[in-house]
Symmetry: C2
Subunit: 423 residues, 2 copies
């Protein structure tokens, strides 16, 4: 670990993956169909994106995982050199109301594109993600809507547990097969269990201070003296994350967490949150569930959230988050700023020649005005979405930089209070 | 003039404007509503755009020229530091079939946005363009469709002549007013007639060779030793261009050219071409009309054309061109390459991991594959249009760089033959 904040459960670390190291807490922009909407990969690099999320469901249907495998994997296909996390596809499948049916074996669904029938099992979800060549793979889980009955939530949580074992077995088998075929040239034989983790978190008491200068850059930089202790600082194999379910019921969450830890994953996600429950419930479940997970393994809160959520959930020990909010809101004309949300397409900005956010240092705020961006929205110009997305993602990534900086400086509480005091 | 090709009428020059110098022959991307669709201004700078075209009609309706004036003019509004040419709005108004009505005074039309009635006169077109703060203004003209009768073509050509005088009078009056209000601090008093021109073209026999190194960069670079002879190398005032009409009738074109030259403009455009006539007619009219125009004034061929047209028309003495083709085709999934047009959204490119154009050095071709861009089109991702537009504009600008280089090297004929030999 790089640092642990004394006043909260927030922690800063380094996540090792086949495509490089990611500073945590990290926010992952969503690149559903192998593209973060309205952004070029150059722009994503420029604003310091450490890791992307891509959707298995969408890529499986189009262009197909076999096509991507044939083209050298997702990184090469989309020309993205940094880490990628793929979800399992389960969430999307279950969002297709009326188009999906869950069985013990897996889930039947119809494509939203052409209605064709498909079957996704825990094993198939692994097979697809391995074909895509992601750095972090997610097990197939069943995510229930909010509110759901205790019985429904428990059944889905238990099914997720059984699927988790199958996913893990398939993953272990595939890795063994890959290792056998690579022979001794494969440098990390037998290390898959200890593979990727949050850097150095195995030593609960160790706290390394690093100079602030290293925290500013978008890409992690390391120096020889950093003494980062990880089981395997350069894994060449993808990492598998389990997913804790159980809705907002703490006993079910406890049961699910215990089962996932017993199966043993390299990282643990919190699924089934931010699906409509009150925010206080989200924070409660995040806090109590995070405590149940091994401190030396990364914790990923799926599908969260607002800029405030980033600060609140990092304070509860979360290392990774993703959300479509910054990109989707941008396309709808809403931008996040240091002064709160701004609906830039509103008429009141027609002659406002200030930047989207006076406190922001992004290239959009340095060059373009609210009046211009408002005009672009009204005129239906693509550049509207391009500029608003660029700013919003920069704002999210900058919030993460501030979070990491505050943790490493030991004054997370100040940042946290500011967020809580905001209107 | 920098150079004149011995084997054709092609010429290379420098166009001085209030926002800098443009190397000619120049291609101007079209930024209809103060945005070149799918491109950021940073990307336009990166690929070496020298001058943009913006549409007066669209900006007048939305956000309105008074709004843009209040925000400091078009350059500041859209954050574009390099030159901008605005059309007069006439072409768009007359394209609104059934929505416009031409009178001696001007043209009545209804907004395509809300049906509201508007009137555009030669004076009003000047007023709007001056409010926008463009570097090069175009007179209001009447452009007829192809084919049109001799009578219709002549009537429109003659009306354009009368409108041209009114535009020039208004422009002269406004400039005098501006100069008066600025007093002696205004550095170019009385120079509007001699203002902007193609650099040094007043000396027909002079031919300056410049080192090739200076031709490569997107932005013009000049050294003290260049001895560029222009009447006014640093004009602070916008330039007014006349427009020669007359359809494909050479006698009408001759009459129109004579009238425009008699009125006296700082540059001359050829309007009413590329509206459906056979390509050989376009080239014929361009060649014969260009001959009638003063050699020391820039010649602008409006709305042309394909990459081949650029080479063919530069060979006939054209200095400036604009067209929506590279941007519009890009959004439809068609890209221009050294091997001809490629419809990249076709299924045949689904597993083609080569670049759009193997001979292209643009950042899209250096990073992304046909298979990826094809996928983006099929998936409806905005990045498809972004990447294809970027490449197409680069291809056009690169063609212009090759044209300028060939002229200055004295081997334009080689380039021209290659284009003619292409399939």
């Amino acid at each position: 670990m790089i640092a642990r904040d004394p006043s909260s459960r927030a922690r800063a670390g380094l996540l090792y993956t086949p495509h490089g190291i990611v500073e945590t807490p990290a926010f992952m922009p969503v690149g559903t169909s192998a593209s973060v909407k309205a952004m070029t990969q150059e722009q994503l690099e420029e604003i310091g994106v450490g890791m992307l999320l891509a959707n298995t469901y969408h890529l499986y249907l189009r262009p197909g995982h076999e096509t991507i495998r044939a083209l050298g994997g997702l990184h090469r296909f989309m020309s993205w050199p940094r880490p990628i996390l793929t979800d399992s596809g389960g969430f999307q499948v279950m969002s297709l109301k009326g188009l999906g049916r869950v069985t013990e074996d897996g889930v039947w669904f119809r494509s939203h594109l052409d209605g064709s029938p498909h079957f996704l099992s825990p094993e198939k979800a692994m097979e697809i993600q391995l074909a895509l060549g992601a750095d972090i793979l997610m097990i197939l889980d069943e995510c229930v809507e909010y509110p759901s009955s205790y019985e429904t939530t428990r059944r889905a949580m238990q099914l997720t547990g059984r699927w988790a074992r199958r996913a893990k077995d398939y993953y272990d088998g595939e890795l063994a097969r890959i290792e056998d075929s690579r022979g001794s040239g494969f440098g990390v034989r037998g290390s898959q269990k200890e593979g990727t983790g949050v850097g150095g978190l195995e030593d609960e008491d160790e706290k390394l201070e690093t100079p602030n200068s290293k925290l500013e850059a978008g890409r992690p930089k390391f120096e020889a003296g950093d003494s980062l202790r990880t089981p395997n600082p350069e894994p060449r194999i993808p990492t598998l994350f389990g997913i804790v379910q159980g809705g907002v019921d703490k006993s079910l969450r406890r049961e699910s967490a215990a089962e996932m830890v017993e199966i043993g994953f390299q990282g643990y996600a919190l699924g089934g949150l931010s699906v409509g429950e009150p925010k206080s419930e989200t924070y409660d479940v995040v806090e109590s569930t995070a405590e149940l997970l091994p401190p030396d393994r990364p914790r990923y809160l799926m599908g969260v959230g607002t800029p405030e959520d980033l600060v609140e959930c990092a304070a509860r020990g979360i290392d990774m988050m993703d959300c479509v909010m910054p990109t989707r809101n941008a396309r709808n004309g809403t931008v996040f700023t240091s002064e709160g949300k701004v609906v830039v397409k509103n008429a009141r900005y027609a002659r406002d020649d200030g930047p989207l956010d006076p406190a922001c240092g992004c290239s959009v705020c340095r060059r373009y005005s609210r009046s211009y961006i408002r005009h672009l929205f009204v005129a239906g110009e693509m550049l509207a979405a391009i500029l608003a997305t660029h700013h919003n993602l920069y704002f999210y990534l900058d919030t993460m930089r501030k979070i990491r900086h505050a943790i490493r400086s030991g004054d997370y509480n100040k940042l946290w209070s500011r967020v809580r005091a905001a209107p």
